[in-house]
Symmetry: C2
Subunit: 528 residues, 2 copies
């Protein structure tokens, strides 16, 4: 976010009011010059600064409000079934490095380190954890029900179906669901049977679906582009995403058994329109304004068509189930992309594990287990500790600092890289598991957690520059400059330490949180 800045800019931290402080920012570096100056003074300074530093090049646009990552307060002691850190504020799917939410898998596809797209377990776990956390912190959404195929359901409005010539629609009982469902028959050469929706408020659509033949469910949208209807098609194939004219296509697999499809139409629309062959989804202004209708084609069954503002649990379980399905026989989630951490490090070849992925997956799976009591989640989480025990050279994620401190590597590089934030996520996962699995099953996680925490407490000072933090220890491992953490990683470090300070009484966490927060306000450690 701040990566591109090299020229100093004037920034106002916070809102422009009596608390406003004037800050000078140099790339990652920010110094607050004056707190509580009034608005007029700020304008003067801002103009003058622009005059002096720009040499005619800078403009008023370099004076702007700074949009830093926030430091959250850890509201209450952390629990494995609670909000995950500050993830209720995360919106994974909106990131431009998320190509789209896969229709087949229901989870995001990353282009961060490869434009071809790949499933990145860290991103998937964060997708799950953010929706899990939002579900705890947001109020339940209003759900508009459009079709349940039950007459007796008085709360639902009468479904308005249009059935063109050559198509049919009927209400039939379903043996496995023990309810009535809608059966549709709509050959490819017809317009399909359509259900009026007309929702202008919410954009998460959900329905139960079972195809008999190939088919599609399409959703027609009015958008901020005037007089232009866009249609999102959910097709019974495995194509990831396509966009042509005003049609966006997502493959959702064959769906020959019953399943619920829940789609964020806003995300699906914008990822389609912004589709690109590069690493980043293109910026677009388009927004949905109205969900007009749903159109079914082919032969199949539909039930429980709803629209709501959110469907966090659907996203959470999509992530949890993906993790269960995609864990390999070593307990890991192999990452199928080459990762070169930087000069001096060997590349990680596709198939590497990440302690951060293992940890975040565990945190997700533990929550799924605590919600469902389904052993499949706990058992997957327990198997996920295996790579923590193996050194990086043996396809694990364990590094040892100076022959003394065990460390779990976000990137199991050679030489070791000791990335701080990934390590802390790996520890939080272990904590969740040892707290949940009981003394016996959780013993391994507990031992790994305790060793890791010992390392963290010993090594934390190495990441402290006295005015910010360092992302990893590559400077020590490679003899280079420190790889300074940009502010959003710095705030991540703080948020993680705040979480840890509620589960471990060691004063180091509270002290470091206090000091590292002060750096955000331009504070510095003492000099001699």
């Amino acid at each position: 976010m701040l990566g591109g800045l090299s020229r100093p800019t004037v920034a106002f931290r916070g809102h422009l009011n009596s608390e406003t402080s004037l800050c000078l920012r140099y790339g990652v570096n920010m110094r607050c010059l004056a707190a509580r100056v009034n608005y007029k003074t700020l304008i003067v300074i801002c103009a003058l600064f622009t005059l002096v530093t720009g040499g005619g090049k800078a403009t008023r646009s370099s004076c702007h409000s700074a949009g830093y990552s926030k430091v959250y307060t850890q509201r209450a002691p952390y629990h494995p079934d609670g909000v995950f850190m500050s993830f209720e504020g995360y919106n994974v799917e909106v990131r431009d490095r998320v190509k789209c939410i896969s229709g087949v898998e229901g989870v995001p596809l990353s282009t961060q380190w490869g434009p071809q797209g790949y499933f990145y377990p860290i991103q998937i776990a964060q997708y799950g954890l953010s929706h899990y956390s939002k579900n705890l912190t947001e109020k339940p959404p209003h759900v508009e029900v459009y079709e349940t195929a039950e007459d007796r359901d008085k709360t639902s409005r009468a479904a308005e179906w249009t059935v063109p010539k050559g198509c049919s629609l009927s209400t039939v009982p379903d043996k496995t669901k023990f309810t009535n469902v809608k059966q549709f028959v709509a050959p490819e050469n017809t317009e399909g049977v359509s259900l009026q929706l007309g929702n202008t408020r919410d954009f998460i659509i959900s329905f139960d679906l079972k195809f008999i033949t190939n088919g599609s469910i399409s959703v027609v949208l009015e958008t901020t582009e005037k007089n232009q209807l866009f249609t999102v098609h959910y097709m019974s194939n495995t194509q990831l995403i396509a966009f042509k004219d005003r049609d966006i296509y997502y493959g959702i697999g064959a769906r020959t058994g019953w399943s619920t499809l829940t789609r964020d139409l806003l995300t699906d629309l914008r990822k389609g329109v912004g589709l690109s062959n590069t690493k980043a989804v293109k910026q677009t202004k388009i927004m949905p304004k109205r969900v007009v209708r749903l159109v079914a084609k082919g032969r199949g069954f539909l039930d429980n068509v709803t629209i709501s503002a959110t469907a966090h649990m659907a996203a959470f379980f999509a992530a949890s189930n993906w993790l269960v399905r995609n864990q390999d026989e070593r307990g890991g989630w192999p990452i199928m992309v080459t990762r070169k951490l930087g000069e001096g490090f060997k590349s990680l070849d596709p198939g590497w594990y990440s302690a951060m992925a293992q940890g975040q997956a565990i945190s997700t799976l533990v929550r799924a287990y605590l919600l469902t009591k389904d052993q499949v989640f706990l058992s997957s989480a327990l198997r996920a500790t295996a790579p923590y025990k193996l050194p990086s050279e043996q396809h694990g994620v364990k590094a040892v600092f100076m022959n003394r401190h065990d460390w779990y590597e976000e990137y199991p590089t050679s030489p070791s890289s000791f990335v701080l934030n990934g390590f802390m996520y790996s520890l939080i996962g272990l904590y969740d598991l040892k707290e949940t699995a009981g003394e016996k099953l959780g013993k391994e996680a507990r031992v790994l957690y305790e060793r890791g925490m010992e390392s963290l407490k010993a090594m934390l000072p190495l990441y402290d520059t006295g005015s910010g933090t360092i992302y990893d220890l590559r400077h020590f491992m490679l003899g280079t400059a420190p790889n300074l953490a940009r502010w959003d990683y710095h705030t991540t470090h703080i948020n993680q330490l705040q979480l840890l300070s509620t589960i471990d009484e060691s004063p180091i966490f509270k002290e470091f949180v206090k000091r590292w927060k002060s750096y955000l306000r331009g504070g510095r450690a003492k000099h001699n």
Copy 2:
């Protein structure tokens, strides 16, 4: 120097010309905002800044030229008989933590960590090394000869002696000096015999002296205090220093054998007038303007009375000889003051050794040996390596970082402190010795040097904050905030690395010098 600053100040780096840059300084932190702004703009900024930040409290006086320690260019490859780093720019005796130059010992007495004063081998070695370096870089001084007791010496002016009633003065041959000398007899109740000097340019006085009874040599000075003559008395006792009215007293010991006394009258005057019971000599404006005359009392002999601008070799050998005389049976120079490095460290009780003292002493002694070929200096230097080999707990100076890297401690604390600049000085001493002593005698120094250099190369990145340097590793040892190096230590780090880069080809030194220099101009390491 910058230790007290906590409020930001505007500083102009460099002279006020087209190269001037506007910098904002926060204690140790300086950011350069704009280069090449013109003088008028600077004045506007300066005034505005004062207005905004001070809230009425700051004044124009916070706008000033910054006087940072300079980074020197290592002119040529370093050699054990050459200039020591940038020490030709040091002026040890002028520091307010130097109580005075002892008349008995000829070396400075420190009050840095104790107002009572104590001989601090580091300061003494630096006194020697700075004068050695000045001697190589400055042109030889003009020496005005006032008395040689030889008529045949045509270059010397005719000595103008005044011999009052009850006193006598005669020219006599001296058996040990093989020349004529002046014999004086001047009882305490007389005014003493006096020699007119009348030098208004230079203030280093030197003479050969031998007392038969107690006596004194006094030097009368005109100063910047109008109509007030000050007198510096060199007394045949062991009093350190005293000051009363306009008389300053230095004990120079019995001097019953021939010795040369060389005194910097400017230093002797100012240390006397500024005499204090605190750690710091008081500020004074007084300066000598004219060396009026020399007065001898008691019974004794004088010869070779001269005045010159400098006498660097005298100071250098005073230091070298003090080091030889005061080395103990373990090869160390015990420091007879309690040193508490900071919270979390045990106090060092009087008698501790310092690797920095050992190293700087070695550098001094090696130079004395190379000048004189006197084995006493080399032998002392060789014995000085002994404390490097013993751990701090065993009255040595060796620490081991993480069970792997040998380190020589400026302060052999428990826990270890790993002070960077002291370590590098200790290595430079070892280098001087191993280069000078030959393969056989120098073997131990070479092994210690090589191990130390390995540690330095490995650990150097731990001192790099990405915008400055850290003084020691107490943050890692104690789990605290990093102890940031103030700018003059930062420049010392750079000067030391520049020296090392000329004697070791490892690219790390050149790279770190380049980056650490960039920090002085507001540069920063990259962030991710």
